[in-house]
C-alpha cells in the first residue's frame, strides 16, 4: 500500500518470499545460474538468460526512498522518479516513452520507503536502445521548471487517487505516522500535499546528486539475452558514468513503543475500516521466516484462522488480511480488516486479539505448519514462472538480504522454522504495547447515531 508507482498497472514488489525445499542450495544456485559483474563505477549487474520468450525484463534498483527524506521535502524520491521520465540530453521531454514504444518496449517505475526502482520490458531487438536511455537519464536529467510544475500536478492527482479519495490509503498513512515517532517511515512515500506543493528545484537537484550514483544502484536483467552481451553493453553505456557519494546513512532508530497507540479518522463513508500495525524487524532479520509462516497460518486462504473466525464463523468482517513490506529498517506488520456494515470495528479488533492470543498460548498444529510451507513453495513457483517475476525476485534478495544467492537459502530457512519459533514470534511481536490501532468511522453514520 505504501508503494507509489508512475502508472497504476504495476505488479507488486511484495514481501512474499518463496520457499524451495532443497537438498542443497548450492546445487540450485548452479542449476539456476545468475551471472554477476560489478562495473568499475560500482554498479552491480545480475543477468539470468532465459530464451523461452523473445523478451527481456530489466530492473534498476536505486537505494534511495522516502527514508532518505526529511520533513518539508517528503515525497521527493517519488517525485524524482516521475521526473526521470521527463527528458534528459539525448532523449528529450516526452521522447523516452515514444522511442521505447516505437521499439516495442514499455516501462514503469515505483518508489517505496527504501528504494526507487525502474523497470523496462521489451523485445530483445530493443536491447542497446534501452541501455542508452537508462545511461542518458542517470547522467543528464533535465530540470525544466515548466515540466516540474506540470509533474507536481500529476503527483498531486496521484495522491488524490490513492490517499485522499481512498479510505484504505488514507487510514494507512495515518497509521504509519502514528506508529513511528522518530524514524522516517512515519511520512508517506507520496509525500504530504503541502510538501508536494512546495519542494524546490534545489531540493530536486540535491536529491539527484545524492541518490543516483551508479554505486548506489543494482541492475537485474532476465530474459532473451546472454550475460556476455549485457556486460559488454553495460561497459559501453553504464561504466563511464562517474561515481559520487551515496546518500548518508539513516541513523535514526525508532524507540521501542511503550504502550498502545490509537487513532480515529472520521469521514463520509459507507463502511468503517480497521488497521492494526505491530513493529517487526527489518527484512534481513532471522525472525523473518517464522513471521511469514505465522502470518500464513493466520491470514492466508479461506482455511486460515482469521478468515475462519471473522469472515466465516462470526461473520463480522468482509475480509481480513496482513502484509509486511520488505524494508531496510524495522517496519510494521499490518493487519487489515473490512468490518461488515453495522459492525463496530471494536468487535473485529476483539476477535483478532483473541486469535493472536491463541497463537501465543499454544503452538500451531503440524498440519498448519506443513500447509504454510506448501503455500510458500507454490508462491515461489508463481514468482519464478515469468521473466518479470524472476527479475523482481533476484533483485529483491540482492537488495534486502545483500546477496541474491540467499534466494536459494530461503528453502532451507523456511524448512527450519518450527512450531516453537512460530509461537515465540507471536509472543514477541504481537503484544498490546507494540500495536497501533487505526479505525475509520463513517461520519454520516455517527451523526445518525447522535
Amino acid at each position: 500500500m505504501r508503494k507509489i508507482s508512475r502508472l497504476y498497472l504495476v505488479a507488486g514488489l511484495v514481501c512474499a518470499f518463496g520457499l524451495a525445499v532443497s537438498a542443497s542450495a548450492q546445487d540450485e544456485a548452479k542449476q539456476f545460474p545468475v551471472a554477476t559483474k560489478t562495473l568499475k563505477n560500482g554498479m552491480k549487474v545480475l543477468v539470468q538468460s532465459d530464451h523461452s520468450i523473445p523478451n527481456v525484463a530489466l530492473y534498476i534498483f536505486y537505494r534511495i526512498g522516502s527514508r532518505n527524506e526529511h520533513p518539508g521535502t517528503t515525497g521527493l524520491s517519488h517525485f524524482f522518479e516521475h521526473m526521470m521520465f521527463n527528458g534528459a540530453k539525448k532523449y528529450g521531454p516526452g521522447e523516452l516513452d515514444k522511442v521505447m514504444e516505437a521499439n516495442g518496449g514499455e516501462n514503469n517505475a515505483y518508489t517505496n520507503q527504501n528504494l526507487t526502482v525502474y523497470q523496462d520490458w521489451f523485445p530483445r531487438s530493443a536491447l542497446p536502445l534501452i541501455l542508452d536511455i537508462e545511461a542518458d537519464r542517470i547522467q543528464y536529467l533535465q530540470f525544466d521548471p515548466k515540466k516540474i510544475a506540470s509533474e507536481r500536478e500529476v503527483v498531486a492527482s496521484e495522491r488524490r487517487l490513492r490517499t485522499d479519495n481512498d479510505n484504505g490509503g488514507l487510514l494507512d498513512e495515518q497509521l504509519w505516522s502514528t506508529a513511528f515517532i522518530a524514524h522516517p517511515y512515519q511520512w508517506p512515500v507520496v509525500g504530504w500535499m503541502s510538501d508536494i506543493e512546495h519542494w524546490t528545484m534545489e531540493d530536486l537537484k540535491h536529491h539527484f546528486e545524492m541518490g543516483y550514483s551508479p554505486n548506489n544502484a543494482t541492475m537485474v536483467v532476465v530474459g532473451d539475452v546472454t550475460s556476455d552481451e549485457i556486460f559488454q553493453l553495460c561497459e559501453k553505456y553504464i561504466e563511464p558514468i562517474p561515481t559520487h557519494a551515496p546518500p548518508p546513512p539513516v541513523t535514526t532508530v525508532e524507540p521501542e513503543q511503550l504502550g498502545e497507540r490509537r487513532l480515529v479518522v472520521r469521514k463520509p463513508a459507507e463502511l468503517p475500516l480497521l488497521q492494526i500495525g505491530y513493529h517487526v524487524p527489518q527484512t534481513n532479520n532471522s525472525d523473518f521466516y517464522a513471521l511469514n509462516i505465522l502470518r500464513t497460518v493466520l491470514f492466508q486462504g479461506e482455511s486460515s484462522r482469521m478468515y475462519q473466525r471473522l469472515v466465516d464463523k462470526d461473520q463480522i468482517a468482509l475480509d481480513v488480511s496482513s502484509d509486511v513490506e520488505a524494508a531496510f529498517d524495522p517496519t510494521l506488520a499490518i493487519i487489515y480488516a473490512q468490518p461488515k456494515q453495522g459492525v463496530d470495528p471494536a468487535a473485529c479488533e476483539k476477535a483478532i486479539y483473541e486469535e493472536l492470543d491463541k497463537a501465543k498460548a499454544s503452538p500451531i498444529s503440524d498440519q498448519e505448519l506443513e500447509k504454510a510451507k506448501n503455500i510458500r513453495l507454490v508462491e515461489f513457483y508463481h514468482q519464478m514462472r515469468t521473466i518479470n517475476g524472476r527479475a523482481n525476485t533476484i533483485g529483491t534478495y540482492e537488495i534486502y538480504f545483500g546477496d541474491y544467492t540467499k534466494l536459494f537459502d530461503a528453502a532451507k530457512n523456511y524448512n527450519a522454522v518450527t512450531k516453537d519459533d512460530v509461537q515465540r514470534v507471536a509472543k514477541k511481536y504481537f503484544g498490546p504495547n507494540n500495536r497501533t490501532v487505526a479505525t475509520l468511522i463513517p461520519e454520516n453514520e455517527e451523526k445518525v447515531k447522535q
Binding site: 546445487d27 516526452g94 523485445p123 498531486a156 487517487l161 479519495n165 459507507e270 479461506e302 508463481h382
Partner: protein, 471 residues
C-alpha cells in the same frame, strides 16, 4: 514459427524438478500446440501440454454470465459461481478450503457478462487432488442455505465498500447508464438486486446452465496429455448430458445523442469521468484494426490521450481508453480523473483529442509505434500456463480460432493509414456520447451541464447503480 530444441535447466526442489524450459520462440507469435476433445456428454476439453514450470492451470467457461441474470436478481450468475466451493456433496466449505490451501492450490469462480469462469491452479504433483476439488465444486455443489445467506450478505456489503472508492464502481454506473434496459446494464448486481436472490433461483441457474455441452474446460501446463485425458474422463465423463438453453443477448447499437449522469460523492476532491458509447463485438472483423488505433489513441503511456491529459497538461495521473469486446457489442470508454477545479478543462481536452482523431487520423509514426508496441508486448501475455488456459478457453467461447494469435502479426501489419481512418469513422464515437461522472456535485454540477442535452444525477449513497430502483 520454428520450435527449436528444448534446453531445459533443472531446478531441483524437494521431490519436484522445476525446469525452466528454454523453448526458443522464433520472432513470430504462435500459440503452443493444443488439442480439442469433446466428451460423449458434450463437454469440450482443450488440452495444452507445456513443460517448464510444475504447475497445471485449469480454466472452465460455463456459457452463461450476468447477461443471463433475471433483471430483478442481477448478480445471480456471480453468486452461483461464488457458492461452488462453499459446500459440496462431499465437503463442507471449510473442508474445501482446508484441502485446497493444504496443497497451496488456488480456486476462483466468478461471472463476466457473457460467461462464468472457474479457474484453478495446482502443482503438478498435486494434480489428482486438484482435479478432485474441481470436480467436486463444478459437478456436486450443495448450495447450503447458511452459505447462501452468508455470501449474499457479504456481497451486498461488498458493493457498499466498493462505493467508498469511485474507481471501483465507476464502470458499474457507466455500463448501467450506457445499456439501460439491456442485460449488459447490470454486470454483477447491486445492494437491492442481490437481496432478492433466493436459494431456489441459484439451484435453478446451476441446473439450467452448468451442463457439459454448455461448458469448455481448458487445461494447460506440465502434465502428460494422454494421462490427463484419462483423468479428465474419469472426473467429468459421468456428468449427465442435458440440453442447455442459449442465453439470449439482444444486439446492441451506438447510443444516439448525448447524455450525462453525475453521481454525487460529496467528499470527493477529484472528479472521475468516463466518456464513451457502445463499441464492438468480440468477433468484429475490424477488431485488430480497432486495437491498433486504440493503442495509439489511449492504450499506452505515450498515447494521444495520456500525452494531452497527463504529460503535457498535468491534469491527471492517467488517461486511457479501451474497447471491451463482447458477444453483443461491448462498451468503449475514455477514462480519467482530475481535481475538482480542472474537471471542465480536462473533459474539454479529452473531447478535443477525440475530435482531433476524427479530423487528423493517425500519423504514419503513430500507427507504426502502435503496431510495434502490440507485437513487442505480446509474448509476456502468453507466457504462463494460466494465461494460456484462459486465452484458449475464451477464444473457443467466442468462436475464434488459433489464428487470433498465430495471424496477429500479419493482421496488425495489414492495418494502413486509410483503414485506420475508416475504423475511426466507424467505431470511435464523435457526436453521440455518454458521460459518466463521479464527483462533488455542489462544485462541478453546474459547469458540466454543457456536455449533454439530457442529464441525470444520483447520490452515491443511494442503493443501486443505474437505472434507479422503481419506487
Amino acid at each position: 514459427m520454428r520450435i527449436l530444441k528444448n534446453v531445459a535447466k533443472v531446478f531441483c526442489a524437494a521431490n519436484l524438478a522445476l525446469a525452466f524450459a528454454m523453448v526458443s520462440f522464433a520472432q513470430t507469435l504462435k500459440l503452443p500446440p493444443h488439442e480439442k476433445v469433446v466428451l460423449k456428454n458434450g463437454l469440450t476439453l482443450l488440452i495444452m501440454e507445456k513443460h517448464g514450470v510444475p504447475i497445471v492451470s485449469f480454466n472452465a467457461i460455463v456459457k452463461a454470465g450476468s447477461a443471463a441474470d433475471p433483471a430483478d436478481q442481477a448478480g445471480l450468475a456471480g453468486i452461483t459461481a461464488g457458492l461452488l466451493r462453499k459446500g459440496t456433496q462431499k465437503r463442507t466449505a471449510q473442508q474445501f478450503a482446508s484441502d485446497l490451501d493444504f496443497i497451496g492450490g488456488s480456486f476462483d469462480a466468478g461471472s463476466d457478462v457473457d460467461y462464468t469462469t472457474i479457474s484453478a491452479e495446482f502443482l503438478t504433483k498435486d494434480l489428482d487432488r486438484g482435479l478432485d476439488l474441481i470436480g467436486d465444486a463444478v459437478l456436486r455443489p450443495a448450495f447450503p442455505q447458511q452459505e447462501v445467506d452468508k455470501l449474499l450478505a457479504q456481497s451486498v456489503d461488498g458493493v457498499k465498500a466498493a462505493k467508498d472508492q469511485a474507481e471501483a464502481v465507476i464502470f458499474n454506473y457507466y455500463e448501467g447508464y450506457l445499456y439501460l434496459s439491456h442485460p449488459y446494464a447490470r454486470p454483477g448486481g447491486d445492494e437491492l438486486t442481490l437481496k432478492k436472490i433466493q436459494r431456489d433461483a441459484i439451484v435453478k441457474f446451476y441446473q439450467t446452465y452448468y451442463v457439459p455441452s454448455n461448458t469448455i474446460l481448458a487445461v494447460a501446463g506440465e502434465f502428460n496429455s494422454a494421462e490427463l485425458k484419462k483423468k479428465l474422463e474419469d472426473t467429468f465423463g459421468a456428468w449427465p448430458a442435458k440440453p442447455a438453453p442459449a442465453v439470449n443477448i439482444p444486439a446492441t447499437a451506438m447510443v444516439k445523442g448525448k447524455r450525462l449522469l453525475l453521481i454525487d460523492k460529496p467528499d470527493a476532491t477529484q472528479t472521475y469521468f468516463v466518456i464513451g458509447n457502445v463499441g464492438v463485438t468480440a468477433n468484429d472483423p475490424d477488431r485488430v484494426g480497432i486495437r491498433v488505433v486504440n493503442t495509439a489513441f489511449g492504450g499506452t503511456f505515450a498515447s494521444l490521450l495520456n500525452t494531452a491529459l497527463r504529460i503535457d497538461s498535468g491534469y491527471t495521473y492517467g488517461a486511457n481508453s479501451f474497447f471491451q469486446n463482447q458477444k453483443a457489442a461491448g462498451p468503449f470508454a475514455i477514462y480519467s480523473f482530475t481535481k475538482n477545479e480542472t474537471t471542465v478543462p480536462a473533459i474539454d481536452l479529452a473531447l478535443k483529442i477525440l475530435d482531433d482523431l476524427h479530423k487528423n487520423g493517425l500519423t504514419a509514426t503513430q500507427l507504426d509505434t502502435a503496431k510495434k508496441y502490440i507485437k513487442g508486448q505480446f509474448p509476456p501475455r502468453i507466457e504462463t500456463s494460466g494465461q494460456l488456459a484462459s486465452r484458449i478457453a475464451v477464444s473457443e467461447f467466442y468462436g475464434l480460432d488459433d489464428n487470433e494469435i498465430n495471424q496477429l502479426e500479419t493482421r496488425i501489419d495489414a492495418v494502413t493509414l486509410d483503414s485506420a481512418k475508416q475504423i475511426i469513422e466507424k467505431h470511435f464515437p464523435r457526436e453521440n456520447l455518454v458521460f459518466l461522472l463521479i464527483g462533488k456535485a455542489s462544485e462541478i454540477g453546474p459547469a458540466v451541464k454543457k456536455y449533454a442535452e439530457k442529464q441525470d444525477e444520483r447520490k452515491i449513497s443511494e442503493p443501486g447503480f443505474w437505472p434507479p430502483p422503481a419506487k
